[in-house]
């Protein structure tokens, strides 16, 4: 790497390195100096927290004082001397209103110097001891503080460890204040047990986070006379425990001796652990001293937020220095070097006329320039040599290129052969004609591999037998030759799925003896490769040559394998295609059988229906004697039902035929008017049979004159129109049913318009779907098979038309279609459009 770096860059980097070192030193100095600032910050935070704790402590003290003052005020207004029970009531009343969580005992020194005490906190105090009036014991009243308070009236804090009653001895911090009432002067003092106060101080320190600031630091509270009242987080060892007051006093001494720092902190030698520490201290409002100490080694050092700006400044300086250095180096070293480099590059590109400058310089640049000059002259010489050689080389390359071209052409020819085989294999798929294609394949192999024999064997569908499906052997053509699946060369190839090459087929132990009978095999040297499809052998290709010919090479084996691989998918496809065709044929045949069955069944149904319908019909019109009105009604119903049944049978058979592709139309030129007469008669008879008979429906036929014959299946078109008209009759209660037949430009338009219930747009898609019935049809219980319209649509489409519907719900519908004027030779094959109705039928079954 380093070697590849240009001299200029090296110089820059060296200078830069020196700069970086200088800057690092500067940075370290800056960091160190700012560390003292950091220390001061940490300590002042510590001091601040201590001050906050002092504030809280002061508030507690004020609280306690306030409570005592309140009680004193109370006592100023009541008699304290006479009735002790009244006094107790008054005190309890006061306490109920002014509870205090720290004060455990309220003491009232009465003017007669008897003392009344109320215990309020300690639940262990016996009932008798909650309120007690007692003679002041000498020890109590001799308490200097109480004396002082009683004499000069100034409230005061004091610390005592006294036996108030007979048994209890409690260390307390207390506050005393004078009161005066008509009975005289007295003192109130309240006691906070030292233990209670200590835990209160501890809680404050915790809340303020003071103790969290330090591990081995601590907080102490001294009263005005230097007695240690509370200590928190003090290190614990036997020496300290044993000599706590003395060591605490020593601390105060050292504190006095020390010089406060600017931040109000004091640095001193800690007397507990004898290590250097900082102390922050403050006087409480009652003159007590609260201090907290933190060991020197706990003060944090430089965090990143202070280091980062310093680093940034350093980097900036580095960048500026880099720029300056770069300019200097560039002027004196880099520019000449770059010029020389450009000269060298031009020499490299063959321009030897280049004059080398800087040769006169005495420094390294000059040396480089001289070296370049030497190189230039050497090169000039070499170029001459080279141009001589290159001419010879060119000749050789030309020769080689011609050779390669020849080889390439041959390869192209091979590729073309392969391509042809592949194309032929594709034919197999399209034509499903396996044998002709395989025969062509065999012929091509003969020329391509230069073999005298080729045979293709395929496994049958059950994969039990191998059959010779194509061969170059005339004697085997047009014969069905089958061997067991593992027999012979082909069988072994299929069995192992790998190519087999045999030098002497006559002595090949697995050969099929019967294959060539008495005659000799048409080859001696043989090779066989499997036809593989999805990892399975489906057959084999065997090729052979006479003994005089050359042996099969590896290259030939590869070539034949390639052929086999190309052909086998197509062969397999063809086999599958044949199977599929058979399956489809089977399915179609099954469908046709079904249709034929249905056809014969319907014969059995139509025969009795002929009897039923006609007997009823003749009976209805009185052919068998007079019928009553009711009998006529009943007979009408019966005929209608029987007809419905007949239509259902016909429709089912039609659908089955369409489904099976068996629907045949018999189109011929036919007279439209004759068909219409029939249809009109039929519609009128339908209306007559309506029950109750409706005179509100008028049937009108409006038919153009001069309609030419249409090329159609009359029976089927009559079926379509009858269907449309019978639908109109069924769905119309009132108004007009209009059959209109008009000559149009392209054909004859048939339309059936009714004023019936119409078809809501959401029901439209169902109309031509088989077995679907509209909601209206179901709601109004209208007879129908749900097959009439799909069949009609199919029939009209087979005539080159399309039934269309215009309908407005509640207003009526128009069903119409146009039958084109068709020429007689314009035969529409029904089979081709079967898919249309199949689509209709299948979509409806969803």
């Amino acid at each position: 790497m380093w070697k590849n770096v240009s001299i200029g860059t090296k110089l820059v980097l060296v200078v830069l390195g020196v700069n970086a070192i200088v800057l690092l030193v500067v940075g370290i100095i800056a960091t160190t100096s700012s560390n003292s600032t950091l220390r001061n910050q940490a300590l002042s935070r510590f001091a601040n927290k201590n001050a906050e704790a002092v504030n809280s402590l002061n508030m507690r003290l004020v609280d306690i004082q306030e409570s005592a003052v309140q009680l004193a005020n109370k006592l100023s207004m009541i008699a304290t001397l006479n009735n002790s029970t009244d006094l107790r009531d008054d005190v309890e009343g006061f306490l109920a209103q002014n509870p205090h969580h720290l004060i455990q005992r309220y003491n009232i020194v009465r003017p007669d110097e008897t003392i009344a005490s109320m215990n309020v906190v300690d639940p262990m105090v016996a009932d008798d001891d909650i309120w007690r009036v007692w003679q002041s014991s000498p020890t109590v009243l001799q308490n200097a503080t109480l004396q002082a308070v009683s004499q000069n009236g100034n409230p005061s804090w004091f610390f005592q460890t006294e036996t108030y009653f007979d048994t209890q001895k409690i260390a307390s911090i207390s506050y005393a204040i004078q009161y005066e009432n008509p009975d005289g002067k007295g003192i109130v003092w309240v006691d906070v047990p030292l233990s209670v106060f200590q835990s209160e101080v501890g809680q404050i320190l915790n809340n303020k986070g003071l103790l969290a600031e330090t591990v081995n630091g601590y907080s102490l509270l001294f009263n005005a006379s230097g007695t240690l009242l509370t200590a928190h987080n003090l290190p614990e060892n036997d020496t300290i425990t044993a000599n706590l007051p003395a060591i605490a006093t020593e601390l105060l001494v050292r504190l006095d001796a020390a010089t406060p720092m600017t931040t109000g902190l004091i640095s001193l030698r800690d007397p507990f652990l004898e290590q250097d520490e900082f102390v922050t201290q403050a006087k409480l409002l009652n003159g007590w001293l609260f201090l907290s100490a933190m060991p020197l080694n706990e003060i944090p050092v430089l965090p990143v937020q202070i280091f980062a700006p310093i680093l940034l400044v350093s980097l900036l300086g580095l960048a500026i220095l880099f720029e300056i250095t770069l300019r200097m180096v560039s002027r004196t070293v880099v520019r000449p070097l770059m010029r020389l480099s450009a000269a060298a590059a031009e020499i490299g590109s063959g321009d030897l006329r280049q004059r080398i400058i800087y040769q006169e310089r005495k420094d390294e640049i000059g040396q480089v320039a001289q070296a370049l000059e030497a190189m230039k002259s050497n090169l000039t010489h070499s170029y001459d040599e080279l141009s001589r050689w290159s001419r010879t080389l060119e000749d050789r390359v030309n020769v080689r290129t011609r050779e390669l071209d020849a080889a390439l052409n041959k390869a192209d020819a091979n590729a073309a052969e392969l391509r042809a085989v592949y194309d032929e294999s594709l034919l197999v798929v399209r034509e499903a004609q396996l044998r002709p294609v395989l025969n062509a394949f065999v012929t091509r192999i003969l020329t391509l591999l230069d073999v005298s024999y080729c045979g293709v064997w395929l496994l049958n569908d059950e994969r039990e037998k191998l059959q010779l499906v194509a061969t170059s052997d005339e004697a085997h053509r047009n014969q069905t030759i089958t061997i067991n699946r593992t027999e012979g060369l082909a069988g072994q190839t299929v069995l192992f799925g790998t190519p087999i090459v045999i030098e002497d087929y006559l002595n090949y132990p697995n050969r099929t003896l019967s294959l060539y009978g008495d005659r000799p095999a048409p080859f001696q040297k043989a090779m066989a490769v499997p036809l593989m499809f999805v990892g399975r052998a489906i057959g084999a290709v065997v090729v052979g040559r006479p003994s005089t010919s050359w042996s099969f090479t590896e290259k030939e084996e590869r070539l034949l394998t390639l052929f086999a691989n190309l052909v086998s998918p197509s062969v397999r496809n063809a086999q599958l295609f044949v199977q599929l065709n058979e399956a489809v044929f089977e399915a179609e045949r099954a469908n046709q059988v079904k249709t034929r069955f249905l056809a014969s069944v319907t014969h059995e149904l139509r025969t009795p229906l002929n009897l039923i319908i006609n007997n009823m019909d003749f009976m209805r019109i009185g052919a068998f004697g007079a019928v009553t009105e009711e009998q006529t009604t009943r007979l009408n119903q019966t005929v209608r039902s029987a007809e419905h049944l007949l239509y259902l049978i016909n429709d089912l058979l039609d659908v089955s035929k369409i489904d099976a592709g068996e629907m045949q139309l018999f189109k011929q030129p036919a007279d439209v008017y004759t068909m219409l007469e029939d249809v009109i008669d039929n519609t009128q008879s339908l209306l007559e049979k309506l029950e109750p008979r409706s005179d509100d429906v008028e049937f009108v036929a409006d038919i153009d004159e001069g309609i030419p014959e249409l090329f159609m299946d009359v029976r089927r078109m009559r079926q379509v129109l009858t269907n449309l008209l019978s639908n109109a009759v069924k769905f119309t209660d009132k108004g007009t049913i209009l059959l209109r037949v008009t000559r149009e430009e392209t054909g004859v338009r048939f339309s059936v318009t009714d004023t019936g219930m119409g078809i809501p747009s959401e029901e439209m898609p169902k109309l031509f779907a088989a077995f679907e019935r509209t909601r209206q049809a179901k709601e109004h219980n209208i007879e129908g098979t749900g097959l009439g319209l799909p069949i009609s649509q199919y029939l009209v489409r087979q005539h080159g038309g399309e039934i269309l519907v215009d309908s407005i719900a509640e207003k009526g519908s128009t069903f119409w279609f146009v039958l084109p004027y068709a020429k007689a030779d314009d035969t529409i094959e029904s089979r081709k459009t079967d898919t249309q109705i199949l689509a209709i039928l299948s979509s409806s079954s969803k």
Binding site: R606, N614, F618, F666, I680, T683, A701, I703
Partner: protein
Amino acid sequence: MENAGTEAMSQDVDLSKLNALVVEDDAGGMAIIGVMMRYLGIKAYINTTGEDVVTMAHAMQPPPDIIFLDLNLPRTTGYEILKLIRADSKMKSVTVVAVTAQDADTEIPKCKEAGFDAYIGKPISRMRFPRQLRRILKGEAVWETY
């Protein structure tokens, strides 16, 4: 505008002067044909087996104007009978109508092929039968079902 009363169009053939021969094996079917013929005033002979149809036709005086052949018969078929009729010198040009309950799509082509003059599928329709008959007698193509 052409209204529904189309009866007049085909009334040129007087059905009551017709002589018909009906071949029908089914008793019910026979009865219906009988009723229909009577209803139309046609004089009809009925053969119930399909045998000796030609003999029967020869015996009829006057000879039949029209023969209705059922296709399915116990021992023969309508096609066989038609062959006999067409082979008979006197009867070969008589109008022969196939009347059957078989599937029309199957039978109509066969009937046309065999040389029937018309086809009326069962059930026959009282409403339509008279006009169908008139059209057949006029030589129109009638290959119809109910």
